[in-house]
């Protein structure tokens, strides 16, 4: 007795959602993007490529980008940067306060006393450590003439990701002299490092504009700032020497030069780190190793299992990245398995050791990420499955479709469960209350499709001694609607969905620019979507399309 008729308020909302995801509406940031300003310049929502589109065609001559605000390095970016800058791989920023969540991605937002103090304390410790190995830190022998100045210029250029100004050099030289008076050359170097690690030029993504530019102007992102955009997107870390040199030579100014540099960087092993940083946040991968289950129900689900399930999904994603085809995310039938995770794929643990092996999985039970037991364990309750959160994941992360929450002024009284029912039967009671039914008409049918997977993501044919019914009907999407049977069926539907592939592009855009798209991004998004489709959904080509977009290469001048 499923309710399929939507109440008027929800129907209106869904129409809005569809219109937005179909044609780049301004829903995600209505009332102001990061800069809080309304889009200007007659660049209203334009015709997108989705079936929900149909607006007036876009005119994309001059670049249009929304205003943005300065961002701090995220914790992940900080850690990889000090690793590349100082060789320190201890991950000190993991103890910093969490970065802000923006649609699932971490963004370095406004600073707090706690953060600034931790940055200061960490700078002190990292500087102490760095000064213990002067050979690694200095470009010259401390006894050589001019070594202090050479060190300041060399270290400053790498840390600020651009050459120092004369003022900055002089300031650091003053600091050096204070430290040197106390402790000799190493003391001076230590104090310089400590200062640099607290400077806004190290801690923030500084993107200065020419003094002659006026508020509202759209200008190219300056050479060095663009180099940083590139390296933090593709590598999650600071530029290397070659990239700084390319910026110095002005080779990033034209699109072709920029893309050539991006292609070089995608061949570097650090590109895989960047991809892991993206998928870790987008698909919750980085949270799997923290999953625990109720030991009374799932004593077999140990910390080692959680850790290896995460590793298994990471290895899967590595292969997807190597092969490039984004649709593998949805329908691939291979997996990486060791003894700890084999049972979660229906395989015998005794056939495997500690090392991971690539295997083909049962294609009737598994397809791509949505059926990966690591993800499903994350999206599972301690002692039972979790249809609601599994469905929310599909809507929000794989279809980029935000869900409405219930009307705020309705008192919701949750239904009382009866013992002995299946999960599906218990949730079916949602439909007895109109306030619940409205949302659950959308969520439950997708969530029920996952009922073959228990709290840990393991396959089950029965629940409470009764056969699992994993049929459902998807409503409210652009191109995935219709009856289906089980998550594998859903996965194949996603692999053929334009909405799903476009969502991959949207998520990567958000990660690359650390902001949510707004209507001013319409032309950029269209060029990205077109590039992705033309490249037959190759992830590397998608990254290049984002790098080459106006949103990546230009910025709007603040008042």
């Amino acid at each position: 007795m499923r309710t399929t008729h939507l109440p008027p308020w929800l129907a209106v909302l869904l129409a809005g959602v569809l219109a937005c995801s179909g044609q780049i509406g301004d829903a995600p940031a209505e009332g102001g993007g990061p800069g809080g300003g309304d889009p200007g310049d007659g660049s209203g929502p334009g015709g997108g490529s989705g079936p929900g589109g149909g607006g007036t065609p876009l005119t994309c001559d001059a670049p249009v980008v929304p205003p943005t605000v300065i961002r701090r390095l995220t914790r992940d970016q900080y850690d990889l940067t000090v690793r590349d800058l100082l060789g320190d791989a201890t991950g000190p920023a993991r103890a910093f306060p969490a970065d802000d969540d923006a649609e699932g991605f971490q963004v370095g937002g406004i600073a707090s006393a706690l953060l600034v103090e931790q940055v200061a304390a960490t700078a002190e410790v990292l500087a102490e450590r760095a000064a213990m190995d002067l050979d690694a830190l200095l470009p010259c022998s401390p006894t050589a003439a001019g070594c202090a100045d050479a060190f300041i210029d060399d270290f400053g250029r790498r840390a600020y990701r651009r050459p120092l100004t004369d003022d900055e050099h002089a300031r650091l030289r003053t600091v050096f002299d204070v430290g040197e008076a106390e402790e000799g050359f190493a003391g001076g170097a230590e104090l310089v490092v400590r200062t640099v690690l607290q400077s806004p030029h190290f801690l923030y993504h500084v993107e200065e504009v020419p003094a002659s530019a006026s508020a509202g102007d759209v200008v190219p992102v300056e050479d060095y700032a663009l180099a940083s955009r590139l390296s933090y997107f593709l590598w999650g870390s600071m530029p290397d020497e070659a990239l700084l040199d390319a910026a110095a030579a002005g080779r990033l100014r034209d699109r072709a030069g920029l893309l050539a540099e991006a292609e070089r960087m995608l061949e570097d092993p650090r590109a895989l780190e960047g991809f892991h940083s993206f998928t870790g946040q987008w698909l919750h991968v980085e949270k799997i190793d923290g999953v625990s289950k109720d030991p009374a129900v799932h004593p077999e689900f140990t910390d080692a299992v959680a850790r290896d399930l995460q590793r298994s999904l990471e290895l899967f994603l590595e292969e997807v990245f190597e092969r490039g085809d984004a649709r593998l995310l949805f329908d691939a039938t291979f997996a990486y398995v060791n003894a700890n995770v084999a049972p979660y794929f229906g395989l015998e643990a005794s056939d495997f050791g500690d090392d991971f092996e690539r295997v083909d999985v049962d294609p009737t039970q598994r397809a791509g990420i949505v059926t990966h037991p690591g993800l499903l364990a994350y999206l599972g309750k301690p002692n039972q499955s979790d249809p609601i959160h599994r469905a929310v994941f599909v809507f929000e992360r794989l279809l980029c479709q935000n869900l409405p929450s219930p009307p705020d002024d309705i008192a919701i009284v949750a239904p009382d469960p009866e013992p002995g029912l299946t999960t599906r039967e218990r949730f079916a009671e949602h439909s007895s209350n109109p306030a619940c039914a409205s949302c659950h008409a959308l969520l439950d049918p997708i969530g029920f499709g996952f009922e073959h997977y228990d709290a840990t993501g393991a396959w089950r044919d029965e629940e409470n001694g009764r056969p699992v019914d994993a049929t459902g009907e998807i409503v409210g999407t652009e191109d995935v609607n219709g009856p289906f049977d089980g998550a594998v069926d859903l996965a194949h539907r996603l692999s053929e969905s334009d909405q799903a592939t476009r969502c991959v592009a949207r998520e990567l855009f958000r990660f690359a620019l650390q902001r949510v798209e707004v209507s001013d991004d319409a032309c950029s998004l269209q060029s990205i979507d077109d590039g992705f489709a033309e490249a037959d959904y190759d992830l590397r080509e998608l990254m290049l399309a984002i790098v080459g977009s106006d949103a990546f290469r230009f910025q709007q001048v603040q008042p």
């Binding site: 308020w9 829903a27 995600p28 209505e30 009332g31 102001g32 205003p67 300065i70 991950g91 993991r94 103890a95 306060p97 969490a98 923006a102 406004i110 600073a111 707090s112 006393a113 706690l114 953060l115 600034v116 304390a121 960490t122 410790v125 102490e128 213990m132 900055e168 650091l172 600091v175 204070v178 430290g179 106390e182 402790e183 607290q198 400077s199 806004p200 030029h201 923030y204 200065e208 504009v209 508020a215 895989l272 892991h276 991968v285 190793d289 995460q310 990471e314 590595e318 301690p382 002692n383 929000e396 869900l403 929450s405 219930p406 705020d408 008192a411 949750a414 009382d416 949510v516 603040q558």
Partner: protein, 468 residues
């Protein structure tokens, strides 16, 4: 070259950094971090600290303000006391407060009326309004709620920070925010705000909180002088960098960097300040480090954070603090209560599910025990003619009234302590007012004469009966 993906804030502290284990090049100095613990002394009296400042304890002990948060609503039938204003009897949830009945004030009938206005879902509004009394900001942080406008942060200063602006400027720390498992950073997880859109993250590790507050206090005068010289030159240069950069940036970037620069200025100011260590000033006893985000360690983190905050107040390192236990929509599991259900899941169960209602009652009762434990700690610190509890008010807040309806009416407020006699205690009060009135009244108890707090539209005035 695989990237290590254990960066979840929920689990970050499994890899906590141990700065004190590294000794740097400047080896003849005394490291300012972790010194107290490397001596291996717990409950360390800090004798020669006083000589650093040579200050006696002020004649009149200062007033202190603490926020105590627990999530996901309560069970009103088990929370509201029986009886009248003075002869009330606690029911199951608040029963652990019985030893402190003369020191508490239970208030029924305060509504978060401001949450009927502005964007956000029930939990978001509850969390963002409870201490600010005004509408949330729209924006792009958070989202997940297309039926409402997207939400970024709370839209105004929180009461603890308003009070800190008034009484927090003489102490090394304006305020200290501590938590256990507060989760990531979004409008569901933040309750303290310096101003609109400026959330204050809490420190989730009592070990790091200890280092932040107590390390450095035990440095000898020579080491201190040396530190001032070195750190002073670093902070000077950093401030110049900020100022020079700000002059070249747009207004919004400038404002954002100004928030950062303000703290850098505070750090420099702090080089010349420390607490005014009275006889009751003791660094708290800390065990060896453990994973502060592991569920099984939750209770110990809660205990230690309270130890740290109370010690910081006894030492007058700060006069304003907050203790945030998990977050709105918190999914904490409380196995020591005999069940493995997640808190927020439970809070959605219907009134007829007596098993779930019992479990939520047990959880809220457990938080009442924690609250009583905080009052006991404060009471154990002698101060003037009384105790630290007498000079403090602890405000217990929840983002919701009742969990399964997500109501923000009838908020379960409990006050502990009288803020130096400014508030009357030993009472159970019923009223029907906006919660902004309570926030305003608390400000008044600290000598702040503001006419309204939060959005003036949701104020009806000071609650006179609370004030002495």
């Amino acid at each position: 070259m695989s990237h290590d993906h254990d960066h979840d804030p929920e689990h970050a502290a499994a890899h906590v950094y141990h700065p004190e284990k590294k000794r740097g090049f400047l080896r003849n100095r005394i490291s300012r971090r972790g010194f107290a613990r490397t001596l291996g002394v717990g409950a360390l009296a800090l004798p020669f600290l006083r000589t650093l400042r040579g200050e006696a304890q002020p004649a009149t002990p200062p007033k202190r303000f603490i926020v105590f948060f627990s999530p996901n609503g309560t069970i009103p039938d088990e929370w509201v006391p029986d009886g009248g204003e003075r002869d009330f009897r606690f029911r199951r949830i608040l029963e652990p407060l019985e030893p402190f009945r003369e020191h508490v004030c239970v208030i029924q009938g305060l509504d978060q009326r401001s949450t009927r206005s502005g964007p956000g879902d029930g939990h978001q509004k509850g969390m963002g309004h409870i201490l600010t009394g005004t509408e949330l900001l729209s924006g792009d942080t958070g989202g997940g709620c297309d039926s409402c406008a997207p939400v970024s942060w709370a839209g105004g200063i929180s009461i603890d920070q308003r009070i800190a602006n008034h009484i927090g400027t003489e102490t090394p720390f304006r305020s200290v925010e501590l938590a256990a498992k507060p989760g990531g950073s979004n409008v569901w997880t933040r309750m303290c705000y310096r101003g609109a859109g400026e959330p204050i993250p809490p420190e989730a590790s009592p070990f790091d909180a200890f280092d932040r507050l107590f390390a450095g206090l035990d440095m000898d005068p020579f080491g201190l002088e040396r530190r001032r010289r070195l750190e002073g030159s670093v902070l000077d240069a950093v401030q110049q960098d900020f100022a020079q950069l700000q002059s070249r940036l747009g207004s919004e970037d400038r404002a954002r960097l100004e928030v950062h620069l303000d703290v850098v200025r505070d750090l420099e100011r702090r080089l010349d300040e420390s607490g005014s260590f009275g006889a009751s000033c003791r660094a708290p006893e800390m065990p060896g480090r453990f994973d502060v985000n592991a569920n099984e360690n939750f209770r110990q983190v809660v205990e230690l954070q309270m130890d740290v905050l109370v010690a910081a107040m006894a030492c007058d390192l700060t006069r304003v603090g907050s203790l945030q236990w998990t977050r709105s929509v918190g999914q904490m599991v409380y196995p020591w209560l005999g069940f493995g259900d997640r808190h927020h899941d439970l809070s959605h169960e219907g009134d007829g599910n007596t098993t779930a209602q019992n479990k939520i009652t047990e959880i809220n009762r457990w938080y009442a025990e924690v609250f009583a434990g905080l009052l006991a700690r404060l009471q154990a610190v002698p101060e003037g003619d009384g105790t630290l509890l007498d000079n403090t008010v602890v405000v217990w807040v929840n983002e919701l009234g009742k969990g399964n309806s997500h109501t923000r009416n009838d908020m379960p407020f409990v006050l502990g302590g009288s803020a130096g006699g400014a508030l009357t205690t030993g009472r159970f009060l019923r009223m029907d007012r906006p919660h902004n009135d309570l926030l305003l009244t608390l400000a008044r108890a600290f000598g702040i004469d503001d006419a309204t707090f939060g959005n003036p539209e949701f104020n009806t005035g000071v609650i006179d009966t609370l004030l002495t």
